[in-house]
Amino acid sequence: MPDADGTEDHYVARADLRWRELGDDLLVFHPVSWDVHLLNAAAGMVLEACSRAPQSSPSMAQLLVDWLADDLRADADGLARSLLVDLSELGLIVPVSQRAGA
């Protein structure tokens, strides 16, 4: 998601999330809403990457491209963008520019 100046926004995971791997799934507890989110492997990978360092849509696409099946690699950009939007809407990641609550 490019900013007004054309640069890509970067995202970080909220620092106060609680998460647990149960089987192949990742359960994430949101500390404010107390909602629990069940993330699939791709979303979990993005969230974990965002917890290690700020991530942009291109950096996430690069991560996903190595993991996706051959026939899905062409859409890695779209998937990365979509996952960042979804996780951001859930309040699990925040843009670095709004990092105060993270």
């Binding site: 647990r20 149960l22 359960l27 629990v36 069940l38």
Partner: protein, 310 residues
């Protein structure tokens, strides 16, 4: 001192005085009432429980009091008081025991938030607990009661009490409320069963209460380690089929079957995850109790039933 050692007159005196305190394990309740038939019923169904001194500190105080107004004589009613508050409109006078038991359940479910409370039956073999969470009408009580007559220790018919400190399951023992056909099924399974009277026309049909065994009542302060979780579903005519459940799906089903998961927030989340990580989880569709029990026996004897916590 045990409740039956008070004698019916002694129980009656306590019910009309400071209250009859009963130690249920994870909680203690105080019961007060002026209803004539309750002393003998409580002596029978709670006879092997320890008396808790009253006045004292109780998790819930329940009072059933007959409505004395003259216009109530045609349709007698009782009032249910919880911790000194009358939270409900009066109830019909003819089902005092189901009302008392329901009142205790309501009080415990809404007040005992120092533990994670699952709506579940719990039995144990040795120190390994089998948790049977289920929605009403799923055959949970029947299966729990039946297991308690087949070599399993009964910890609770209604509450899976997970202690937050160590994730152990605490007994919260009460008489088991059997409904409709289950009453005869259990009577046939164990003719020596101590049963209270059958109450027809309750909200759940005919209800009768089964007293826990004396050995179960003596063990109300022995926790057990959660080893297996089984979600039962009674389907008439079915045999018995046990299917493994994915951990994430188990989480969702346990959270839905919890009385206070939403109250505990992060503590509830961590406790549920810990329990799921150290247990095996299955769904059980059953119509044949004996077949269901043999599946459960095999599950509890096998390695899947509860890895030792690391």
């Amino acid at each position: 001192m045990l409740v039956h050692e008070l004698g019916v007159d002694g129980v009656a005196a306590r019910l009309r005085g400071d209250g009859l305190g009963i130690d249920l394990g994870a909680a203690a309740v105080c019961i007060r009432s002026d209803i004539d038939e309750l002393p003998s019923l409580l002596s029978r169904l709670y006879g092997d429980f320890d008396v808790a001194a009253a006045p004292g500190l109780f998790d819930v105080t329940v009072q059933l009091k007959v409505e004395r107004a003259w216009w109530r004589r045609l349709r007698p009613q009782v009032n249910l008081w919880l911790d000194g508050e009358r939270e409900f409109e009066p109830f019909p006078r003819d089902t005092p025991l189901p009302l008392l038991e329901w009142g205790i359940n309501y009080g415990l479910a809404s007040r005992l938030s120092c533990h994670l409370l699952l709506h579940a039956g719990v039995v144990a073999r040795g120190d390994k607990a089998l948790v049977l969470p289920a929605m009403p009408g799923s055959g949970k009580s029947t299966l729990t009661a039946y297991l308690s007559r087949r070599g399993y220790r009964l910890l609770s018919d209604e509450f899976g009490v997970i202690r937050l400190d160590d994730r152990l399951v605490l007994p919260l023992l009460r008489p088991v409320a059997l409904k409709n056909a289950s009453i005869d099924v259990l009577r046939a399974a164990d003719p020596a069963l101590t049963l209270g009277p059958s109450y027809p026309r309750t909200r759940k049909g005919t209800v009768a209460h089964m007293a826990p065994s004396a050995s179960d009542a003596r063990a109300v302060h022995q926790p057990a380690r959660p080893a297996a979780i089984v979600f039962p579903q009674y389907v008439p005519g079915a045999g018995a089929e046990l299917r493994p459940l994915e951990p994430a799906r188990t989480f969702g089903r346990l959270a839905v079957n919890s009385f206070n998961y939403d109250v505990l927030g992060p503590q509830g989340f961590e406790a549920l995850c810990d329990v799921i990580e150290t247990t095996s989880a299955h769904s059980l569709v059953y119509g044949d109790l004996a077949a269901a029990v043999s599946h459960i026996d095999a599950l509890m004897a096998g390695p899947a039933a509860g890895a030792e916590p690391t």
